[in-house]
């Protein structure tokens, strides 16, 4: 790092700011792009639809809390997924990691260590799986699709091996209590607070840190990033570690929510998380994406599921609606991207 007697002095002198440098703090409201606004619009429309079709059941506080709680688990996974996709990768193993972490953290042996044991195990299993993914992809030169597909298969297999297909009930009071109404603060479930915290940290990480910049650079043009002196491989490793960490946190939330660990947990989370990121405006080819968009994507999906359930519509119809939303979102983005 040291540059002895550097003759070409680095640029340090200040230059007068020009227009557009100083913006009032509230300018983000104005600058909110078409995509974010349209996602908010869709979410608002869904709330209206929910309110009209099932005015009592939908707008009930319990129900709104339920929506947010359900969004929390997949939401945390989606934040990690968003980073991976922005960097030009993909993580198909998130659902399997959630399942594996949730059953490993709820074995009888782990539960002996209480609250901390469960939390620690869930997070460590998530990080461990992320480490394997990251090493295979960054240093083993494997294609992310293949490496994480392998992790999906073996993670699910290991989860089945651990549980033998049985549901593992949680007996630690502290964990169970977190999911109960008594722990709500100002009506907000602790799970939702974790989701909010992960979202905020994720947003800051992406928009305000060198880590975020490097992730975007690697996804936008890996070769240019390498030639600019970024350690692309290490960055990739970190990104899959981050995704694994998010899965570990999500697994813990799921344990709290369900009061148990099951090897079938997190089924198809990979698809939901990818879909939420995509409708949130993340480019599947990498280089562009936002946490805000992804979180709105998650909220939209969860709200739809809720409304359909309240109206006693079949899961099949639900799936079709989700598919239609993905297509619509991408079409809208294509249009706005060209302007």
């Amino acid at each position: 790092m040291t540059q002895p007697a550097s003759p070409a002095r680095p640029i340090t002198e200040k230059s007068p700011p020009t227009d557009g440098d100083k913006r009032p703090w509230w300018s983000f409201v104005v600058r909110a792009d078409v995509r974010t606004l349209s996602l908010l619009g869709v979410l608002a429309a869904l709330v209206v639809i929910g309110g009209i079709t099932e005015p009592e059941a939908f707008l009930d506080t319990d129900n709104l809390q339920l929506i947010l709680t359900q969004a929390s688990v997949i939401g945390v996974v989606t934040v990690g997924m968003t980073f991976v996709i922005i960097s030009g990768g993909i993580d198909l193993s998130v659902g399997a990691i959630v399942a594996l972490a949730s059953v490993w953290a709820t074995t009888v042996a782990t539960q002996d260590y209480g609250f901390a044991g469960i939390l620690f195990t869930a997070v460590m299993v998530g990080l461990g799986c992320g480490l394997v993914n990251g090493l295979l992809i960054a240093y083993g030169g494997m294609v992310p699709f293949i490496a994480t597909l392998a992790m999906l298969a073996s993670g699910r297999g290991l989860a089945l091996e651990i549980t033998d297909g049985k549901t593992q009930m949680v007996t630690v009071d502290g964990v169970l209590k977190l999911g109960e109404r008594d722990s709500y603060v100002l009506g907000i479930p602790p799970l939702v607070m974790v989701f909010a915290a992960v979202t905020v940290v994720g947003w800051l990480l992406l928009n305000r840190t060198t880590f975020g910049r490097r992730s975007v650079a690697v996804g936008g043009n890996a070769e240019a990033a390498r030639l600019a002196g970024i350690d692309v491989r290490r960055q990739r490793l970190y990104l899959y570690l981050l995704s694994g960490l998010c899965c570990g946190i999500a697994a813990f939330l799921l344990i709290v929510l369900a009061g148990s660990g099951q090897n079938t947990n997190g089924n198809l989370y990979e698809l939901d998380a990818i879909a939420a990121a995509i409708i949130g405006g993340t480019l599947l080819s990498g280089g562009r994406g936002t946490i805000t968009g992804s979180v709105l994507g998650v909220l939209i999906f969860t709200t739809i599921t809720n409304i359909f359930a309240l109206n006693n519509l079949e899961t099949a119809v639900q799936q079709i609606a989700k598919g239609a939303i993905i297509v619509a979102a991408v079409l809208v983005q294509r249009r706005t991207a060209t302007t």
Partner: protein, 527 residues
Amino acid sequence: MAPEPPLLTMSGITKSFPGVRALDGVDLHVQAGEVHCLLGQNGAGKSTLIKVLAGAHQPDDGTIVWRGDEVTLRSPIAAMRLGIATIYQELDLVEGLSVAENVYLGHEPTAAGFMVRGRDARASTAALLKRLGHGEIDPARLVGDLSAAQQQIVSMARALSHEVRLIVMDEPSAALDPDEVDNLFRIVGDLTADGVAVVYISHRLEEIRRIGDRVTVLKDGRAVAVGLPAKETPTREVIALMTGRNVEYVFPERPVRDREETPSEPVLVVQGLTREGEFAPFDLELRPGEIVGLAGLVGSGRSEILETVYGARKPTGGQVRVDGRVLRPGSVRAAVRAGLGLAPEERKAQGLLMLESVTRNVSVSSMSRFSYGGWLDRTKEREAARAATRELSLRPDNPSVPVRTLSGGNQQKAVLARWLLRGCRVLLLDEPTRGVDVGARAELYTVIRRLADEGLAVLLVSSEVPEVLGLADRVLVLREGQVVHTAPARDLDEHRVLDLVLASSPHGPTLAKGLHGPATTEGSPAS
């Protein structure tokens, strides 16, 4: 027959993009059988104009008259149906398909409406390639396996596979060796003899003089000269039209200094650096303030040497030292840390983050300077990026614009600003003015020379001999991966360098391919 109507008359073509008026009432008249050259700086509107002509852009205003009838070119297919074919600078071939499949992509000869008649396609492709002087290219080969020059030929064959009356060629000679260029000119001659018109875009004025009939010059989205005679118009006048000023000289003067008295320590020392199969052991000492140029043909190993010094390729032997410390071989990060910076040959693919702003492109290598424990100070970052881009007079003077909206010269400045901001000490420049027009080149030369005067050491690779001779203090001439001559630039002239570069060698497949007819398949150096 009445006086022949022009083949193509474009009048008052206007096209705006957000924030930019790319074309502002441009006229272009092309006669059948002529070579009409289109000149202009980057950003002058050439690309936009040919995209309008190719049906890829719709003009906001203006008319296009084709063989006496006003037409609207709604799509590239519509343009192709009329007989207008375009060969873009960035080749649009599918690497995973064969030559014949590429040539007939979209209009495959079929049986029963859908069965591709592969044999017919291959036979007519072979005929086309033969006509283009490249009968040695096997129509069944994958395009991805061909050299850049051969791909260019395939692209041309594709254009000719349609009934063409007008071919637009966007810098067709950029990727070609001198003898390939001769072949290109022969093809152009054959085409015009058949009555086909060619719209030829090039930055090389001498080419335009050789094959051009008339010249249209664009500047800032306007045609500043329409249909000048290509051979009679003085070069000075053409350059003046393009740049809006008379160019007395394009290269900045070398500083007068007495090296005998002040021998500064070399900042970069390369010893015996080797990559087997690419270049022989390479030695170099580079001092602060010095510009050393590597001259050589494509395949002479010049870019490979540069990239290996930078650690982007792993050497099979030798070492690189900066300030006496040995760099870890094959590590770009070690090189960057030690103070090296590379402006790569493929600016868009290797140099820039095209989705990002100028600021982020400039700051990407110095982020630790604006961060505390990973936390970015974005105000500081923006100011530093602005200072660096101002230092290089990057236009527009607003680093928050996306880098993809800049012209080629300004994109190159963004790359240079990145290293300037980092405080880099050795600048490696690979084809720094590729795709940069004459006017902006002079400015880049001035910038590079000034950076050297301020103490930077510069290693320059260029396929344009005048550029190396004009800019460098010392020149290393490369042939087939070996340095064949080293001399101060002032002791060399263009003829001498070309002689050295082209000198026949008893064991050179690279050169044999270049000079003596058809390529041999074995040991093709093109990647």
